[in-house]
Symmetry: none
């Protein structure tokens, strides 16, 4: 099966938003063994959209569109696709009632526009959208499958996973596995990986750098699924042997999920005192369902006053060593540990810039303090990048320090 991905919206071709939808959908389709030959993006123009759709129908078996399903007049994906396929558009009463219910329950004002979302091409099916107002649509006609999804990535991605995969699966096998690493740079990882000679005709081993972490992706393609899986496991074992200390998870499990999971298993609690990262560590952890049983509190002691009042950092230490120092990081962690009665207290302080750096204490200097019943330590790091990159890298490093501590 050959697929084409069409992203619809003036904001895409005008460069107002980065097209992550095509990227996401390609990855998912490859994992399902579906080849993608084309990505097409077009602005919200009726004539151009129609020509794009017709071209796609002539060259692909599966067409997935994103965008243009909202309530406004710019949104005309389903109307144009119906037209291109020679289908009518009809009101779906059940969907209309769902929409009315949703607006009533939420106490929102429903406009005429919203009713538009209850219409669909004759013979098509709705794909449920549990987190937004625009449902998706599935049509099968003349052995072509057409799937329309809304543009917002969070809605589109969830709907793809929950409602689309079952509609499009076929029997060619492409298996992908990801190995996620932290604390190692991409180029150093890549040159070491090359020496392991893991690529072959059926196997590609690629590396992708993300914010502070690196992913190794193995893509295997072939007919015999069991054999592919066996050979993937062999490759993972080789990679594990070489990079074990850096590996924090496999596939789509995030560093934060690993930490919350490990803490829950050990029944350990965590408290965090953040200065430079200003809440990034806490918000990453509390985005994970299950955080509430292990995340005791986060104190964002951004000002000196709050470091003194909330954490009992000594005024003299702040004066003598400065807020960005080993001593302050230690006293932050110690104060937090004493007041919160947790198993692990983490502190972080540093200089994110812009401005404020000196030769002795440059922008990017970060201290991370960790205190437990058995363990007290302050780590010193230097990160480069702009303000937000330094904050992000410091947060990931702190999370990695917690991970290594819990794994011990």
């Amino acid at each position: 099966m050959v697929a084409e991905i069409i992203t619809i919206g003036t904001e895409v071709v005008m460069g107002s938003i980065l097209n992550t939808n095509s990227f996401f959908l390609s990855q998912k389709l490859i994992e399902l063994g579906i080849e993608v030959h084309f990505h097409t993006s077009v602005d919200d123009n009726e004539k151009r959209l129609e020509s794009i759709i017709k071209t796609a129908i002539s060259r692909a078996d599966l067409i997935i569109t994103t965008g243009g399903l909202g309530p406004t007049k710019d949104d005309m994906t389903k109307e144009i696709i119906a037209k291109a396929l020679g289908l009518n558009i009809e009101l779906d009463k059940t969907m209309e009632n769902n929409i009315i219910d949703m607006f009533t329950n939420g106490n929102w004002v429903m406009t005429d526009n919203n009713q538009k979302q209850a219409f669909k091409p004759t013979g098509s099916k709705f794909i449920e959208n549990t987190i937004g107002t625009a449902p998706g649509i599935y049509i099968e006609k003349d052995s072509k499958k057409i799937i329309m999804l809304p543009g917002p990535p969070v809605e589109m991605e969830l709907m793809f996973e929950k409602g689309v995969i079952n509609l499009i699966k076929d029997d060619l096998n492409i298996i992908t596995r990801s190995i996620n690493l932290v604390g190692i740079g991409e180029s150093s990882l890549e040159s070491k990986l090359n020496n392991l000679n893991l690529n072959s005709r059926n196997f590609s081993v690629l590396t992708f750098a993300k914010k502070g972490v690196v992913e190794i992706k193995i893509i295997a393609k072939g007919k015999d699924k069991n054999k592919l899986e066996e050979e993937i496991i062999n490759r993972i074992e080789i990679i594990k042997e070489e990079f074990n200390d850096y590996i924090y998870s496999y596939d789509s499990i995030s560093l934060e999920e690993v930490i919350i999971d490990l803490l829950n298993k050990k029944r350990w609690t965590l408290a965090v005192a953040e200065s430079i990262t200003g809440g990034i560590i806490s918000s990453k952890l509390t985005k994970i369902a299950g955080a509430s049983s292990v995340f005791n509190r986060g104190l964002i002691t951004y000002s000196n006053t709050s470091k003194i009042e909330e954490l009992g950092v000594k005024k003299e230490s702040l004066n003598k060593y400065g807020p960005v120092s080993k001593e302050t990081a230690y006293e932050m962690a110690k104060g937090l540990f004493l007041k919160s009665n947790v198993d692990i207290a983490l502190s972080i302080t540093g200089l994110a810039g812009p401005g404020g750096g000196t030769q002795e204490k440059p922008i990017g200097l970060v201290y991370i303090g960790i205190i437990t019943n058995k363990f007290e330590k302050v780590f010193k790091y230097n990160f480069n990048g702009n303000r937000n990159l330094i904050q992000e890298r410091a947060a990931v490093k702190a999370l990695d320090e917690i991970r290594k501590l819990i794994k011990q």
Copy 2:
């Protein structure tokens, strides 16, 4: 002039790399007054690439391709484009000598492949690549302009800025302005906007929904730049009159930047007590340089214990009304206000799910408390979406409440 951007490479349509080239080029072309109607991506396949090129020639005046200019056999962009245009490929002696020099100077081993890069279609010109081995190519034929650039973004972007802009500039101006709104839904905004009749032949007024906020984008196109700017200002005034309360900024200024800026101007300080948002509000604010003078502290009181210990929330209130209640939100804000000596204390508590919702207190229920010297209030909201969307929407709503308070 109408442009099409074509990105060539199996890695793009396989989802191995995110297509930032189309994004970059669209932004730059819009700035130059060139409209982009299509983005197309295709894998390294001769037949499909040829059909894509022919389609593009039929519907665009300017075609920019990236990728497929390297030395390997997968790289065939210039060969296919020459074929589509009926041109021959010829060796350029000067370029051949340049390449030989480069390899000699760099002490690199030159392979036969590298000589391939000295070939170009008859009548075309090379575009210099100062940081990579693959030069770009420019062809003008039958009043169509075709520009081929290499795929690596750093090379492509530099070559565009240095060698391409002068080739494609025309005398038509496109000016874009953005108006950013919060607290109003996209569909309600659009139906009100339509009544204002701001669109005309030279002006498009579009709306884009982002995480919790909405953008109105005005795109003006025409020869007389001064007149366009004047008419844009007129339209902004009309929009301002209608939506003034919802507008928080213009162009690329974020809601957090606006708040930090307003606080700095008034010399007001802010403290935040977050439960449901777990640090999102604090981290958004502290990502802005300049936060340190106004952001006093953030307390992420995720557990009941921490609400009691850090904020003096009464155990009886937690038992009687629950952690997600008007009373708890009020006591959180009050406790924070009393202990932190700030001008504004904000609290937020709610249910993000998954699980834990009841009919009386459904998932998505959020209370926001604000206390100042003159003002005490608790706001109640219901948000929909999954855990992370509810957290994100609640955070944006809280930021908007702060903004409205400071603006008063």
